[in-house]
């Protein structure tokens, strides 16, 4: 039956190829919308959990690194948290603008002060990591290495201001300890990492203020109870588990998801219309042939199966092509969207998740097959004698 359906579709190659391409475009759009609807959320979650830190502490009323706000007692608090047996790692983070000279020009750098004993911002790629108390070391990302030409072991100058007076006071000679991969760095950003005391010295900040604390909960402990306990311990600090952050992120993306859903539904509907229209034309053209099949003893169910098989085959071919087209367009669009300034490079808008892609493909196949239901029903119910009579005249 599938072979017969394929042969029937091959009778009008150009028409069916064009329809197949139309279905492919609709399928590609649906696939992209499915990837877009959940893609950012999944990508965001993956990024937040990339080093296994499930809790973030930020200044009250803010999200981590959403503002430049800081909260007091950060390093002390992270030390207290590290002493909790349910917590396997915790580290405070403080950001600040740093500068260095490359030739005659002043190069701005995004500086991050970390506690090496509990940092969740980078992964070491080459060289050595910072160690607690290291006030002369620096780790750099590949973008900084490329721009400055710094190598592991080089001694370089860093300062915390552009004003010559300030720069002179705060300038430090530091050694490049290692090259790291920054997990939250945006495209074009040049990030360097130093220890918390060094960033304070470079940026001239006194006191124990930090922008964020990242907490990794031990394997045998539950995240939410730990987060709740930290909230009770530090009511002046915003404590969010990754699950909470994802939920807040999801709320922000509600309109985005609704748009994806609407566009996805429209594309599914367009696919159904294409298959349905094409099969209706095909059935109308072949009513005489169908009446003959009925006359020689092919059952109504047999006719329905034949028409549905054509719809399914057409959908399958269009959807197969649409899958490839969808992945290519998603990659292309992702390339454009992820260049937005300030957006972490690890964030993707279109994430091809196997389950979602499979669900979309099945929905398309089912819709394509069902799209043949009306033409199939018409074909099966066509009056045999009247159709044959019309064919003969």
């Amino acid at each position: 039956m599938i072979l017969l359906a394929a042969k029937n579709l091959a009778r009008h190659r150009v028409r069916n190829t064009l329809a197949g391409l139309g279905i492919a475009v609709a399928a590609a759009l649906l696939l992209d919308m499915v990837m877009l609807a959940g893609g950012m959320e999944r990508s965001f979650e993956r990024m937040l959990l990339s080093r296994g830190f499930q809790i973030r502490l930020a200044p009250k009323g803010t999200l981590p690194f959403d503002t430049e706000a800081t909260f007091p007692g950060g390093a002390a608090l992270s030390g207290t948290l590290r002493a909790d047996p349910r917590i396997s790692a915790a580290g405070a983070v403080l950001g600040g603008a740093l500068f260095t000279r490359v030739g005659d020009s002043l190069l701005p750098l995004a500086g991050l002060g970390v506690e090496p004993e509990g940092q969740g911002l980078y992964e070491l790629e080459r060289g050595a990591d910072l160690v607690p108390g290291d006030t002369t070391g620096i780790v750099i990302g590949a973008s900084v290495a490329a721009r400055t030409g710094w190598k592991i072991g080089d001694t370089v100058r860093l300062s915390g201001g552009t004003d010559p007076q300030v720069a002179r006071v705060r300038e430090r000679r530091v050694m490049v300890r290692g090259v790291v991969h920054w997990l939250y760095e945006s495209r074009g950003e040049r990030t360097v990492g130093v220890t918390l005391p060094l960033i304070r010295a470079l940026t001239g900040r006194s006191g124990d203020r930090v922008a964020m604390i990242m907490v990794k909960v031990a394997r045998d402990a539950d995240v939410e109870p730990v987060a709740a306990d930290i909230r009770r311990l530090e009511p002046g600090v915003e404590v969010n588990s990754v699950a909470t952050l994802i939920a807040r992120f999801r709320t922000r993306l509600t309109y985005f998801r609704q748009l994806s859903l609407i566009l996805g539904t429209i594309s599914l509907f367009v696919g159904v219309l294409l298959v349905s229209t094409l099969l209706t034309i095909t059935v109308n053209e072949r009513l005489g042939e169908i009446a003959t099949l009925r006359a020689i003893g092919v059952s109504r169910a047999g006719i329905v199966r034949r028409v549905l098989a054509e719809g399914a085959l057409l959908s399958l071919a269009g959807n197969g092509l649409g899958l490839v087209l969808g992945l290519i367009t998603a990659r292309y669009l992702d390339g454009i969207l992820t260049t937005f300034p300030g957006l972490p490079a690890a964030i993707s808008f279109f994430v091809p998740e196997r389950g979602a892609v499979l669900r979309a493909a099945l929905a398309l196949l089912a819709a394509g097959t069902l799209a043949g239901a009306w033409p199939a029903w018409r074909a099966a119910r066509a009056p045999i004698a009247a159709t044959l009579r019309e064919e003969a005249t």
Partner: protein
């Protein structure tokens, strides 16, 4: 008429159509009987109700009133599935325009009703080849329907009609689309089939074809206007 058992019997058939808002009475109380082994030609001018009668006799259409029974089974009492099954297994149809599936080969077209009847691939292939050989087209078995001439297509249609060993073969203007020579081949085929025991009911304008029949039923204005033994009448 011989004493052979009645295979098909129709009583007081009426059928009315609406054409352009006007009622057309295609059949006005037609009663006919076809005995086993008969070769019946239904003739008459255009619009006399020949094809309508054939469609009703073959279970392709239902009469407004009257009854049709095949081998004693009243067709009007059957549902669509049962009627379709009877058409598949007990009747064969040949149409003026052949109506072969153009995407299939001659062999596959002949196999089609057997596949629908659930006959296995090997058996139906073998029987389809036998039938194509019977109609003189064994060398054309692998050709698509579109690659055959009109006469060849009609002979493939006859082979297809015989696929499930029907009790009765219906043909609606089987030579209508053929030239004299190829029409002749179909006539010869029908004669041979009837000689081999096949009961045939054929609607035709073709005098030669009608002359081959053992009996001719002449229709005029939806009524039987006479019945005469043909050249092959026993």
């Amino acid at each position: 008429m011989s004493e052979t058992a009645v295979l098909l019997e129709a009583r007081e058939l009426t059928r009315e159509f609406r054409l352009g808002g006007r009622a057309v009475r295609a059949l006005r109380g037609v009663t006919v009987a076809v005995r086993k082994g008969e070769y019946v030609a239904i003739t008459g001018p255009s619009g006399s109700g020949k094809s309508t009668l054939l469609h009703i006799l073959g279970g392709l259409d239902a009469p407004d009133s009257g009854s049709v029974a095949l081998e004693g089974v009243p067709l009007e009492q059957l549902g669509d599935s049962a009627l379709t099954r009877i058409r598949l297994l007990r009747m064969g149809f040949v149409f003026q325009r052949f109506h072969l599936l153009p995407v299939l080969t001659a062999l596959e077209n002949v196999e089609l009703p057997m596949a629908e009847a659930g006959i296995g691939r090997r058996e139906r292939g073998s029987r389809a080849r036998e039938l194509l050989d019977y109609v003189g087209l064994s060398e054309r078995a692998g050709h698509r329907a579109t690659e055959l001439s009109g006469g060849e297509m009609q002979r493939v249609a006859v082979a297809r009609a015989l696929a499930n060993r029907p009790a009765l073969l219906f043909a609606d203007e089987p030579t209508g689309e053929l030239d004299l020579t190829t029409g002749r081949q179909v006539l010869d085929l029908f004669r041979r089939l009837n000689q081999d025991g096949m009961t045939i009911v054929v609607v035709t304008h073709d005098e030669h074809l009608a002359a081959e029949a053992s009996r001719t039923i002449h229709l005029l204005d939806g009524r039987v206007n006479g019945s005469s033994p043909g050249a092959l009448a026993p």
